[in-house]
């Protein structure tokens, strides 16, 4: 059984992405007791699936490493992975929270040696790589995974493969008898940092994401550019493995659109500008990028980055929302539309199209405890009536990483205000 030490002065942080980790660390490094709950088997959330960050072109895993070191060094944070909040009762200063913990089938004995994976043949979709590839059904979600522990997929539990994994482990780390658990814990304040998900590109049917293999999303493109990704960092198009030297980026794929997401997702312009660097990096002057946009939203000092990309002769900008993608005989996706600066029609073939899909709250369309209040887009709002639950990061708004971390830091203080008050009251 999983045991959790928590009191009404404990801060519960829901979501172990960069926002949740930040909120948890800031609170813990101020001396507070924190329970950090994450649905995935590892911490880090969506940022660690990015290859680089704009505008520095540095690697998200670099910050993750620091955050993990902070976490490892801090005894005040208890991390629960594969856990989801199923209910919240009580109020500010005294919540009772129930959690559902899915079995990992691997216990803390795991040394991450990988023997179980060697013993298993079954492959499952690799969620870490947005299902662009497969992993063994006994797997370490990524090389950066923390806890650094393997996971056994439930599909092989109860079968010969599960037994093989168990037999391969010299340390009794594979425990196929693990069951789903329900845990209830006490908390004084809750930080809700459940993050975002990429908008479902299939819903924008005229872009043919469901039909054309060479139409991918921006988050998938991050994996394609990452040397740890499914293509080993080579920008290859899915249909035929050909190098994708001529890449189109379609902005506002879902965002700023009342048929899809009403809001502007903020990060995607910068994201695509960044991704033109990947193309340049991979192919030099042979790499061509075209950005189809409505407005380039390179806000504040990000403008510098935009100006730099704009000055690159290998990147062109077309002010137009692409109207539809078709596919030519060679499997090239063709962008059709009208350049609105002047009236210029185009039907331009590219090797690959990247849809800059927007950001929607992870919990949109999923049932979350009614105590967590959200607006019409699904973003978590401050609820004055239930003043002990605070949103953080992209659960509250479409934010870039920097702003999400600011938001999470602020949320940590709001939570601390509550537990400090509890502490004062209890003397």
């Amino acid at each position: 059984m999983t045991s959790v030490v928590a009191t009404n002065q404990t801060i519960l942080v829901v979501g172990g992405g960069i926002s949740g980790m930040t909120a948890a660390l800031e609170a813990a490094e101020t001396g507070k007791q924190v329970v950090l709950v994450e649905r995935n088997p590892y911490l880090g959330g969506r940022t660690v699936q990015l290859y680089r960050y704009f505008p520095k072109m540095c690697h998200p895993t670099c910050g993750l490493e620091i955050n993990l070191r902070r976490l490892k060094a801090n005894p005040r944070i208890q991390v629960l992975t594969m856990a989801e909040v199923t209910g919240i009762t009580g109020g500010k200063g005294n919540y009772s929270v129930s959690l559902k913990l899915k079995p990992r089938f691997v216990n803390e004995n795991c040394t991450a040696c990988g023997d179980c994976a060697q013993a298993v043949q079954t492959e499952i979709d690799d969620a870490y790589n947005y299902n662009l590839t497969k992993v063994k059904a006994a797997f370490l979600p990524s090389i950066f995974a923390y806890p650094q522990r393997y996971v056994i997929d439930p599909s092989i539990v109860g079968g010969a493969e599960g037994e093989a994994a168990k037999a391969a482990c010299k340390y009794n780390a594979v425990d196929l008898t693990m069951k789903e658990e329900t845990v209830t814990l006490n908390a004084g304040a809750i930080v809700w940092a459940t993050g975002w998900k990429p908008y479902d590109a299939e819903k924008i049917v005229y872009y043919g994401y469901d039909r054309f293999p060479n139409v991918v999303t921006n988050v998938e493109f991050e994996r394609m550019a990452d040397p740890r990704g499914p293509t080993g960092g080579k920008i290859l198009r899915p249909s035929d493995g050909k190098e994708a030297k001529n890449v189109a980026f379609i902005q506002c794929a879902g965002s700023r659109d009342e048929n899809h997401l009403r809001h502007c997702s903020r990060f995607c312009c910068m994201g695509s500008l960044k991704q033109t660097h990947y193309v340049q990096e991979a192919f030099g002057d042979e790499g061509k990028s075209t950005i189809y946009y409505i407005d380039i939203r390179a806000i504040d000092r990000f403008e510098d980055f935009y100006q730099k990309v704009k000055a690159n002769p290998n990147v062109s900008f077309v002010k137009s929302k692409v109207a539809r993608i078709t596919q030519d005989k060679d499997g090239n996706p063709v962008c059709n539309g009208v350049n609105t600066e002047g009236y210029l029609r185009y039907a331009t073939a590219h090797d690959l199209v990247v849809l800059a899909v927007g950001m929607e709250p992870e919990v949109k369309g999923v049932s979350i405890p009614a105590e967590v209040m959200s607006d019409s887009s699904g973003f978590v709002m401050a609820d004055p009536a239930n003043a002990g639950i605070f949103g953080a990061g992209c659960a509250t708004n479409a934010l870039d990483v920097n702003r999400a971390v600011q938001s999470a830091t602020a949320a940590a203080l709001r939570a601390i205000q509550v537990v400090n008050k509890v502490a004062r009251a209890e003397g």
């Binding site: 101020t30 998200p60 910050g63 060094a73 090389i143 002010k319 938001s407 203080l413």
Partner: protein
């Protein structure tokens, strides 16, 4: 203090015992490592293994533990012994996982493991458990500089958490820029209508808050001390100075609008009917107060048509005006446009923009303005001319692709923000140098620059926090927006980055969080980010100090002042424990309890050095523990083999690398040295800001030494490594090893 008792533990798990002779390692730990206690275990990280170690600590008096097992990044929950000095020999990721399991490789693999055992033993013996200095200051009051929305928010939020606050505002009233606003951009659904600016309510809450002490008409004359014990001399209205003791500082000094007088081509100064956004707010307030519509300044007639010019003097690639986008101005112009449309829908209201930037729910606000009939045109304004009571705005309409013009009673220029961030420190230092023996004029330049100082820090490294880009006091770190180069001092709001009110409030709350954290940790002697919680701190053997000032100059965080005798004065709670001072010190008098010239130097010496005929070169790798070391680790996790002749020592930062390590290594027969550190320069990735840059600069001097020693300069290799280089790093190591082998053994070998 208890007697030092050392113990080494060697794990046989994860096939370590299959790949290397663990008994031989144990012998080395005993004989060469001189460990008092040496134990082997089949599965050291298991509950049983951990209990074994803990039992030795509790009952055998073990004070120093050397673990030969997996990487220091692995199994940290199990190997958590906070009461003892701990070193870790990386036999798994560092040896067996990066070596092929072949009979050929066996010998060199064993040698590698043996060396790491020697190194961990050598290291642990030179370490002490940091005691922490708890006398660095226990004041928990937060100082907030600036009484605008950001400052007021920071003050209120800190107070709400139970902390006392001193709030300083240079003007006669709280409110800052927001107080000048007729209304603010909407902050909640449906994001359609401008809201009250909220200033009066916040100011009233501050008045009523017993935790918050406010100084109006006040500026900071001097800031001294460090987190937990800052002393703030406040110049108050009467001309006298009062002193407040505070533990941390939030600088929320806001911004001014870019001077529209620099934009004569846009008509500013040529017609009173051309205003900036502040001018328009003033007109709107005046109109609201008088109950009249907004009138044009030239003749007081109601405005019938208005044109907003976005990016006026902003996003200017020529460098003449602001290069950046101020981010908030699109929404502000939209808001101002609603002032007109809400009073009279027939007022012709046009916004000329090149990219309309309304992120997030700003899109709803944008739509609501369109719905009110505000016309948005994508166009570039070339000129605004005044003709009597109206203006002509010449612009290129980018959609209709033509040059055209619009007539307007009023033109509003969205000029953007300039941070109130104090003088730029490098420019100030240059000016000071020029003034040292210079004219009155050059001295006046310094005075003028100092006049802009906000904090007037008496730090050796200048009076304010360093600028980042375009004069803003932001952090360079994407993951760590509150990272600051002056510990315990946090910028908040538009002084750190252009931002709107809502963001500023969020930012100020975050800054209050960091300030509170800073005072809590200062009192406990704990380091701030990124080595949060580290209790070690640098001490100097002053009797050996030559007063060269390198440590005070190089400290990236301005932690070291000079005392009256010109010796370095360490302000521990400002220190971030990067060790740059230690690396800088030519006489090696600076050290940490658990990280010193010795902890690394002894490891270098501990490595067994084969003679020149063995064809077994030795290459020392000093790897940044934040990025390069994890990358090497993950190369191991991927079972990517690399050369068996390298010996890796993690360092806190390249900045902490003392040149003595390099010269000692080469002198003692190493054939090559590789330095692996983070990217430096404009897009630096060093977590200690300047550490890797300073370290590299220092190394450039070593090349001269190499020449002096008659050694090939390629025996020292400086490599930029990112954490993601795990797949390419082995190849680079191997290539370097080949290069060294081709060069032949070091002439110093065996001397």
């Amino acid at each position: 203090m208890a007697e030092m008792k050392t113990a080494a533990y060697l794990c046989k798990g994860c096939e370590i015992d299959k790949r290397v002779n663990v008994a031989a390692l144990a012998k080395i730990a005993t004989k060469e490592g001189k460990m008092a206690l040496v134990r082997e275990h089949d599965f050291l990280c298991s509950a049983d293994g951990v209990a074994l170690i803990q039992n030795d600590i509790d009952n055998e008096g073990v004070t120093h533990v050397a673990l030969g097992a997996c990487s220091r990044r692995a199994k940290t929950e199990a190997f958590n012994f906070p009461t003892v000095a701990l070193s870790r020999g990386n036999l798994r990721e560092g040896v067996i996982w990066i070596r092929p399991d072949t009979p050929d490789a066996q010998e060199t693999t064993q040698e590698m493991a043996e060396d790491y055992v020697r190194m961990m033993c050598a290291e642990v013996k030179t370490m002490q458990v940091p005691a922490g200095n708890q006398k660095t200051g226990t004041i928990k009051t937060i100082l907030v500089v600036g009484g605008g929305v950001s400052g007021m928010t920071a003050a209120l939020e800190a107070s709400k958490a139970g902390y006392k606050v001193v709030l300083i505002e240079k003007a006669a009233a709280l409110g800052g820029w927001a107080a000048k606003l007729h209304k603010r951009v909407p902050t909640r659904e449906p994001f359609k209508s401008p809201e009250d600016n909220g200033v009066a309510d916040m100011a009233a809450r501050i008045d009523a808050d017993a935790n918050i002490k406010v100084y109006l008409n006040a500026t900071i004359a001097k800031t001294s001390g460090s987190p937990g014990r800052f002393k703030i001399d406040i110049a108050i209205e009467s001309g006298s100075v009062v002193t407040e003791d505070v533990g941390a500082i939030i600088q929320a000094t806001g911004f001014t609008l870019y001077d529209a007088n620099k934009l004569p081509h846009l008509g500013y100064g040529k017609s009173p009917n051309v205003v900036d956004q502040a001018g328009l707010e003033a007109l709107a307030k005046e109109a609201a107060a008088s109950g009249k519509p907004i009138c044009r300044p030239s003749d007081g007639q109601p405005v019938k048509s208005v044109v907003f010019v976005q990016c006026a003097g902003q996003r200017d690639a020529s460098g003449e005006h602001l290069q950046y986008c101020s981010g908030y101005c699109c929404n502000v112009s939209i808001k101002q446009a609603t002032y007109f449309k809400d009073s009279n829908p027939d007022i012709d209201t046009v916004v000329l923009f090149t990219d309309l930037r309304t992120p997030g729910n700003g899109e709803d606000f944008y739509r609501s303005a369109q719905n009110r009939g505000v016309i948005f045109s994508k166009g570039v304004v070339s000129e605004v001319t005044a003709n009597g009571n109206t203006c002509t705005v010449q612009f290129k309409d980018l959609i209709l692709n033509e040059d055209t013009a619009a007539e307007a009673d009023l033109v509003v220029l969205a000029t953007g923000s300039v941070p109130t961030s104090g003088p730029e420190l490098e420019a100030l230092a240059d000016a000071k140098r020029a003034a040292e023996s210079g004219t009155e004029e050059t001295k006046n330049v310094v005075l003028q620059m100092m006049d802009k100082s906000v904090l007037n820090l008496d730090y050796r490294q200048g009076p304010d926090i360093p600028h980042f880009k375009h004069g803003f006091n932001d952090s360079h770190f994407i993951c760590f927006p509150y990272e600051t180069r002056r510990t315990g001092i946090y910028a908040a709001g538009p002084v750190r980055r252009p931002m709107d009110i809502l963001q500023a409030q969020e930012d100020a709350t975050g800054a209050a969080m960091k300030a509170i954290q800073a005072v809590e940790n200062a009192g406990l002697g704990k380091a701030a980010h990124p080595r949060a919680g580290d209790l070690s701190f640098p001490t100097a053997r002053l009797e050996g100090c030559t007063q060269c000032k390198r440590c005070t100059v190089e400290c990236p965080f301005g932690a070291i002042d000079e005392d009256e005798k010109r010796f370095p004065l360490f302000n521990e709670s400002r220190c971030r424990r990067c060790g740059t001072c230690m690396g800088a010190c030519p006489v090696r008098v600076i050290s940490f309890e658990n990280y010193s010239v010795n902890t690394v130097g002894m490891q270098i010496k501990a490595v067994d050095m084969p003679d020149e005929f063995s064809e077994k070169p030795r290459i020392l790798i000093l790897a940044c523990e934040n990025d390069a070391y994890p990358a090497l680790d993950m190369a191991g996790m991927n079972r990517n083999a690399y050369d068996p002749f390298v010996r890796v020592i993690p360092v806190r930062c390249l900045g902490s690398v003392n040149t003595i390590w390099i010269t000692d290594a080469l002198n003692s027969g190493y054939d090559g040295v590789m330095l692996m550190g983070c990217k430096h320069g404009d897009e630096y990735q060093c977590h200690f800001v300047k550490g890797s840059e300073l370290g590299r600069y220092r190394m450039s001097k070593v090349y001269d030494t190499l020449k002096g020693m008659n050694l090939e300069i390629d025996r020292l290799m400086d490599m930029e490594v990112a954490i993601t280089d795990m797949d390419t790093l082995p190849g680079k190591i191997n290539a370097y090893a080949e290069q060294i082998k081709a060069m032949g053994p070091s002439p110093f070998k065996g001397l």
